[in-house]
């Protein structure tokens, strides 16, 4: 059982971003832009969510032209259920980090 106190404000913002399009595979930079988190914060969160079985990941199927394959993420069924619980319990913390930090390392975030 994952304790609620284990979900930091940043983790909740990642869960919110992933829940906003459930079932859709998202890539790291996309999540970073939406949440306003830097790579050094985002990836440890993704790793921990994956370790707890709340997040699944895979590599893009085909090799796109001109760029490397992306690593993609989405919530598992457990992740969707758990994120629903914690986001109901802590709605104030779940607002996107972009409300507090306007840029991702100087890059303007995309409108949520």
């Amino acid at each position: 059982m994952v304790r609620d106190r284990d979900f930091s404000e940043q983790t909740l913002s990642v869960l919110t971003a992933l829940r906003s399009r459930p079932g859709t595979w998202r890539h790291g930079y996309d999540l970073a832009r939406e949440t306003g988190l830097k790579s050094g914060t985002l990836y440890p969160i993704l790793i921990r969510l994956a370790d707890r079985g709340l997040l699944e990941s895979c590599w893009e199927g085909e090799q796109p032209a001109g760029r490397p394959r992306r690593h993609l993420y989405r919530l598992t069924s457990d992740g969707l259920a758990r994120s629903k619980e914690v986001l109901i319990e802590a709605p104030a913390l779940a607002r996107p980090a972009t409300k507090r930090r306007r840029t991702v390392g100087g890059i303007a975030p995309r409108e949520a």
């Binding site: 790291g28 830097k38 790579s39 050094g40 985002l42 990836y43 440890p44 490397p68 992306r70």
Partner: protein, 428 residues
């Protein structure tokens, strides 16, 4: 700049391969995403991401561990080199006259000094080998607490002690200082007494101390307890006196006590708050640097240096007091009055002792190190002055700190609080 960026990116690309297999996918993900990031932010994206993935994979800790082992190996090699070369001291050399004496052709090897520095060198090797072993064992001295403050204090303190012992060995070699006037055999006995006391007391105190306190309150009832606790108290106090004499007589014992103190307050089982370590060590570093600045060559010692008496008499005790009061006040938030009294006293005592110990360790290492490395003369009459400081400074810190903790508790109790007569606040 582009060239530098490219070099760092290449390094980052190579570092992906260093990440353990179970985490490598994440490091490659960070790298793969870098293509999406605008050019001017790509470097920070890759660097930040890979750094944190490496931390998650425990690589940073492993690198720090191997760097520490490498540092220990260098220290051990230095000691072996010292033993191999032997002590070379100019005839008629007096440390106070440095640097007018010179080492060179026709140097005279003093067998007494050779023995001294060899014993110190061996002590260094023992210290270097024993420290990692002791620090990893479960008990009063290890393993290290999870807090960053404890880790920094433990690593910094042990490194400082290793440097001090190396400096002492170097000093015995180059300056011919008479550090260990106590014979070898006597030193070994004193060290044995010290280590036994320092090892047994934490175990004994944890198990029997509540009984001794109960006895003083008249709560001990059985005949066995009425005999057992006074005997125990006598042994602890008598052993403490023997320990004091040992610390006064032997540098080795003093070093063993410092190591034990640092390990004990930073161990996982220690009840000392991380903030107390920060206050104590921070004030100690500041005090040591101020003291070093006040004794810089040419400024004279106590009799001729107007800066030094105020520093020794006012600044250092004031720092002990400040750190102790801050540490004691930090814990005055508990709801249990008895726990509150005990904790305020303990935190004050540790903060004061840490301030005194760190300041003394720093000043001794810096001054003796400067004498050895830069060949500068400091106006202290003998090295014993610094060892006296190393012994009495933590003791004075304990006295000031425990008094400050007790006073902070008493003041807190007298002050009317909105939540109740004892000023009960919510627990941390």
């Amino acid at each position: 700049m582009d060239r530098l960026n490219r070099a760092i990116m290449t390094l980052a690309r190579c570092s992906v391969r260093v990440v353990p297999a179970e985490r490598r996918e994440w490091a490659e993900a960070v790298w793969a995403e870098a293509g999406e990031v605008p050019d001017h932010r790509r470097l920070s994206w890759v660097a930040g991401g890979l750094w944190r993935v490496a931390r998650e994979a425990g690589i940073v800790r492993r690198i720090a561990y191997w760097l520490a082992i490498a540092a220990l190996a260098v220290g051990a090699a230095e000691v072996v080199s010292l033993i191999w070369r032997g002590a070379a001291v100019a005839p008629g050399f007096r440390p106070i006259s440095w640097p007018t004496s010179s080492l060179g052709a026709g140097v005279y090897v003093d067998p007494h000094t050779t023995g001294e520095f060899r014993s110190l060198a061996i002590a260094t090797v023992v210290l270097l080998v024993a420290l990692p072993w002791i620090a990893r064992r479960r008990g009063a001295f290890g393993p290290v607490s999870d807090s960053s403050a404890a880790r920094v204090v433990r690593v910094g303190g042990c490194a400082g002690i290793c440097v001090l012992v190396l400096v002492l060995a170097r000093q015995a070699e180059t300056l011919g200082e008479d550090l260990a006037a106590v014979p070898w055999s006597e030193n070994a006995v004193l060290l044995g007494v010290t280590i036994t006391y320092l090892t047994v007391i934490p175990l004994t105190a944890r198990r029997w101390f509540p009984g001794v306190v109960a006895m003083h309150r008249g709560e001990a009832t059985t005949l066995r307890e009425e005999i057992q606790y006074p005997v125990l108290e006598f042994l602890v106090l008598g052993g403490g006196l023997v320990l004091f004499v040992a610390l006064l007589s032997s540098v080795w014992c003093l070093i063993a006590a410092y190591v034990a103190g640092i390990l004990a307050v930073t161990a996982r089982g220690s009840r000392v708050a991380p903030t107390t370590l920060v206050y104590g060590a921070g004030a100690g570093v500041a005090g040591g640097l101020i003291l070093y600045g006040a004794t810089w060559p040419g400024r004279g010692f106590l009799d001729s240096n107007p800066l030094l008496p105020p520093v020794v008499i006012v600044v250092l005790p004031a720092m002990m007091l400040g750190a102790s009061v801050a540490a004691a006040r930090r814990v005055l938030r508990r709801s249990d009055p008895e726990a509150l009294r005990r904790e305020a006293w303990r935190e004050g005592l540790v903060a004061g002792a840490l301030t005194g110990g760190v300041a003394a360790l720093l000043i001794t290492t810096l001054i003796l190190g400067t004498m050895v490395i830069l060949h500068r003369q400091f106006p202290a009459p003998t090295t014993e002055a610094y060892f006296s400081l190393a012994l009495f400074s933590p003791l004075i810190g304990m006295l000031i700190g425990s008094t400050a903790g007790w006073r902070a508790d008493a003041t807190h109790r007298r002050t009317p609080q909105p939540d109740g007569p004892l000023g009960v606040l919510s627990d941390d």
